[in-house]
Every structure is written in C-alpha cells, then in structure tokens.
C-alpha cells in the first residue's frame, strides 16, 4: 500500500515570496491533515479536511496561508507571502475516517527554509 506522498521535499525561498506544497493521501482516506513542525517543537495542526470540506482550521494563519482539497483527494497548502518564522517542516497526514481513534499516517514532509 502506497503511503502519503508529499512534494517537494525541500524548498528554499526568500521572505515575501510565495510557495505551495502538494500532498496525496493514502487511497480511500477521507481525512487529510496539514501540520507545521518548527524545529524543536512537536507538530501543530494547521488544517483538517474531511473529504473536500474543512473540519478545523483554527490554527491556520489565514492572512497568508491557504489550503484546498478540491476533489476530496490530493491537497495543496500555499503560503503567500512567506515570513522568516514560516521556516519549518510541513507534514501531511491522512486517516480513514477522521474519528478520534483513527490512526493518522504521515508523509515525509516538506522542509521549508525562508531566507
């Protein structure tokens, strides 16, 4: 079974530039998550989708971050414009049903460096 795919794996940009990350979840998984993991910290949930609807985006900085999952499968996370403090690893995860007992499967992440 293929795991969660993410691209690119690494990205270096200058502040005020834009960047987009892509995630393809495990086939059949209804729920998709984007996490931000800053160096030295645990992952923090940015947004959770159930199919193509947003379940939780309470910690997403909506003035600069946006995410979509148009067909309920793959998803993109965009930052526009980027700030220095956005340097982090962006993890995508998926789960089958999105309940509390559901295991989340994580992709390898995209490491973003903002100069």
């Amino acid at each position: 079974e293929a795991g969660v795919a993410q691209s690119p794996r690494y990205k270096i940009i200058e502040k005020r530039q834009s960047v987009a990350f892509w995630c393809n979840p495990i086939s059949g998984h209804a729920t998709l998550y984007w996490y931000q993991q800053i160096l030295g910290q645990g992952p923090k949930l940015l947004i959770q989708f159930q199919n193509n609807g947003v379940v939780d985006d309470s910690q997403l900085p909506k003035d600069r971050f946006s995410a979509e999952r148009l067909k309920g499968v793959d998803s993109t996370l965009k930052i526009q414009p980027a700030k220095l403090e956005d340097s982090a690893v962006y993890l995508c995860a998926s789960s089958f049903a999105g309940t509390g007992v559901d295991e989340q499967f994580f992709g390898p992440g995209t490491r973003l460096t903002v100069l």
């Binding site: 969660v4 030295g40 645990g42 959770q48 939780d56 789960s95 309940t99 509390g100 499967f105 390898p108």
Partner: protein
C-alpha cells in the same frame, strides 16, 4: 485545554540498555494517548496508542507504554534498545470528546544510542 509535556529534550543510552521516555498530559476527560517516532527525514510513525482498558499497551518494535491516571503519565519503555531506535519520539493526546480528531503533540525527546 489539552497539553502534553515531555520533560527530556535529549536522552542518550547504550545499545542493549533499557529505555524510558517520559510523557505527562493535561486533559479534561479520559484521554486518547499516542506515541510516535520520527526518524531523520521521515514522517511520523505510530508506535502505540491507548484508548481504554488494559493500562499497559504493547506497540511495534518492542515498545510498550503504561497509562497511569493518578500521575497523568504515559511513559514509553523498551527493555533493550537497538542502534536503529535512534530517532525523535513524540507523545500526543487527543481529541476532546465531540471534537474533530485533533492531536496535541509534545515537544519531543531525541534519543541517541551509543554502541
């Protein structure tokens, strides 16, 4: 609000020695508790989880964890560490009843294994 504390930022053990990683949580109800492992350049992999029942939980790779409600702890243990166990370990709690499947992660413990 739910929170997780991992008091040890970095631990070094010799190969073959026993291991215990500490995790304390703050939670308003019966918790769901998880331990994840993250190897360099990889996503997070679930080691084990506790929802209810037997307070001693067995996981993959020879790991186990014990839920102690009186101490608000969920410590991870392994009787004999292998060099391949060197990684970062995250404890997580969640979600609150009636909410989406949001996990709150601790800041992680980096495990170094000496030969």
């Amino acid at each position: 609000a739910q929170s997780v504390t991992q008091p040890d930022i970095h631990i070094t053990v010799s190969e073959g020695a026993s291991l215990e990683l500490r995790c304390n949580y703050s939670y308003g109800a019966t918790p769901y508790l998880f331990w994840y492992v993250q190897s360099p350049g990889q996503g997070l992999q679930l080691l084990l989880k506790y929802f209810s029942g037997d307070t001693l939980v067995q996981g993959i790779k020879g790991f186990e964890a014990e839920f102690k409600r009186s101490q608000s702890s969920f410590n991870l243990r392994k009787p004999s560490v292998h060099w391949s166990d060197a990684a970062e370990y995250f404890c997580a709690v969640g979600p609150l009843p009636g909410t989406a499947s949001k996990l709150t992660f601790g800041t992680g413990t980096r495990l170094q294994v000496t030969l």
